[in-house]
Symmetry: C2
Subunit: 157 residues, 2 copies
Amino acid sequence: METKTATPWLTPEQQRVWRSFLGGTTVLMDRLDRDLRATHGLSVPEYEILVRLSEAPGRSIRMAELAAAVAHSRSRVTHTIARLERENIVVRGQCSEDGRGVSAVLTDHGFSVLEAAAHTHVQGVHDYLIENADAADFVAMGRVMQNVVEALHGKNF
Amino acid sequence: METKTATPWLTPEQQRVWRSFLGGTTVLMDRLDRDLRATHGLSVPEYEILVRLSEAPGRSIRMAELAAAVAHSRSRVTHTIARLERENIVVRGQCSEDGRGVSAVLTDHGFSVLEAAAHTHVQGVHDYLIENADAADFVAMGRVMQNVVEALHGKNF
DNA sequence: GTCATGTAGTTGATCGTTCAACTAGACAGT
DNA sequence: ACTGTCTAGTTGAACGATCAACTACATGAC
């Protein structure tokens, strides 16, 4: 039996950090998204999906794995892939060995779209984020977010 | 006349950090949002708006200032405030001294909703983020994101 | 075999965000 | 006063994400 723990309030310092985090991610993601849309008609989530596909053997990943890799719901991935398929950037393929399985495959055209988009995206990450971060601070942030991913892993949806 | 600078590619380390960042924010925001919705029917963006209002003199801020404070478009704030007004959490007031001005005002009911929601939200930030971060890493992340906010300030929309 | 249960993926409705177009008041120049 | 330009805020359509309900295949118990 335990005593109910009181809500641990945030210190002013923690509050400042949290607000910077929230404001920073909002403005950063917004900017990266706009750049990518303007130059290549892709959103950041779409781009992330294409990156995973491009790295996979056969440039092909099953829907559920893809969903897990980018931390989106299965439904969301279905819709996103449907959109990308309309633009001939990916195609769907039946999965052997599991009758239910469907895998998304990056087309050659999709790959070249991705290659072009990568320049814009990487430039953005560099200019907006890395350029504004002390190298040690940057890897510190990486550690934190990696821990968050691991701690929350599987606990969503 | 300048030579075109080549795209500065990311080092493997930088790539890892960036992916952790992307995955971590996705999963963290998703979780905070779910918690808040489930317990108090508020989204994180809505919550952030209420926080700003609660801190302002007269619990009241003009639409454009509110938009700037939370880094949302004016249109988005209009829609969000409209939704919150339907639930009697805020009301709109005409602004004296500027005939165009409209200010959002937090109601007493809104304030108590916010108070309740704050417990859930702060607990979440604590458990999912702060708890998973070394103290020094946490403030390092704050520095980085603060820089990002300042660097990108005003350069969006 | 067949029945129950679990997993993969899709679907359509609903909701929140974005975008472009719009109204209306402010403000400066003449 | 009059005109042009700027800022504040709103509107409705289009788009993307979420949610609940559904189909279909897999798996294990009997």
